[in-house]
């Protein structure tokens, strides 16, 4: 799937009154200075009267000064901090889902390999959740499509199939590749690559998304290592 290079993105965090119209006014204000809202995320709630929320806002196509000035002029907004777009800090994300023992070993390989690439100026994160059960894991696979900057999913477990395999098909269709450990179940027929050693699976996952690596997942597709 083609992905455009993101234009420079201004990022701020601020408190705003927690009301439908106050939040909508933020997006309208960003559009008013010609910006495209890339992220508007409530990161914390602040009890009080009126209740407020703390919002992280990333807007593409605007100057940071203009963004601070226009959002700061809104009546319901307080305490603006300048910050950085999350992509510039945490970068591409490898997502690891499955059983705890295997997830930990995949993470070991992926973190070690990400360290090597991040030392050379890349930004690759390794984000994990240990889960059990076909429905829970299938939900998590589908939710990877909703995560900003998710670049690749690794499924780490001993048996997966059924609804998880269906969810993997959907995820690959929108352009997110999937690596699975060699395991029981139909999952190994539905992924881009099957790897037996979890540390190597994590390493290969990072290599597949790194700009500073020459590993091309497309050339490995369907293989079992």
């Amino acid at each position: 799937m083609p992905r455009r290079r993101a234009a420079p993105t201004a990022a701020i965090r601020f408190d705003v009154v927690d009301a439908p119209e106050a939040i909508a006014a933020i997006a309208r204000t960003a559009a008013g200075i010609g910006g495209r809202v890339r992220t508007l995320a409530t990161v914390r709630s602040i009890a009080g009267e009126p209740p407020q929320v703390e919002v992280e806002l990333e807007v593409e196509g605007v100057d940071e000064e203009a963004l601070v000035a226009s959002i700061g002029a809104l009546e319901d907004v307080r305490a603006i901090h300048r910050t950085r777009a999350l992509g510039s800090v945490f970068g591409k994300r490898i997502i690891v889902v499955g059983g705890g023992a295997q997830v930990a070993q995949v993470a070991l390989g992926a973190v070690s390999e990400a360290d090597r690439h991040n030392l050379r100026g890349e930004r690759i994160s390794v984000d994990t959740i240990p889960l059990v059960g076909e429905a829970n894991i299938a939900d998590a696979v589908r939710a990877v499509a909703d995560l900003p900057r998710a670049a690749l999913l690794v499924l780490a477990g001993s048996i997966m199939g059924g609804e998880i395999s269906a969810a993997v098909d959907e995820l690959r269709e929108i352009g997110i590749p999937v690596i699975a450990l060699n395991m029981a179940g139909s999952i190994t027929e539905h992924v881009d690559l099957v790897v037996t050693d979890p540390v190597q699976a994590g390493t290969m996952a990072v290599m597949a998304v790194a700009d500073t690596a020459t590993f091309d997942l497309a050339r490995q597709r369907g293989r079992r290592n």
Copy 2:
């Protein structure tokens, strides 16, 4: 810091024309049915004419049917999928930042402990990034404040201080606790808890945020284990 329990949140993902006003119209529409936008995140760009983006939208205080109907009625919106709020899938996040070797060991402890809690119905993720350099790590510490659902930061390394310590002070001030490995530098004077063994640090980090654990970080504050 007080945190309110989130009300039920409807979540959808859809394609929308990538223009300032088209994105602002989404927030306005959600407000029009009485919803508070909790997340509006661009997850992918779709090349084409006109260019589109795929957006994940979470709105509190509305019914899913009403959200689908109102957003689906917008001229610039296509291909609506029903999805789930990310918090219900990935839950609270432990963030681990630092040197690759130590980050991997903290992740091992944290993933193993999260597995035990998630088996009992919680949702705890372990999200990591290996980074080097005072400025890079300080930026990442500050950016934890911008991450949705970040519950606790673990700093894993051999020497940290200076700007990183200042960033930790800021992060704790907004209510996010910090655990550090026992290491050289001033960082150990600025965190909630210092732990020597990285696997134990990861385990304790998860225990500190888990609902199904009895570990209270406040009672350990300032200790060195």
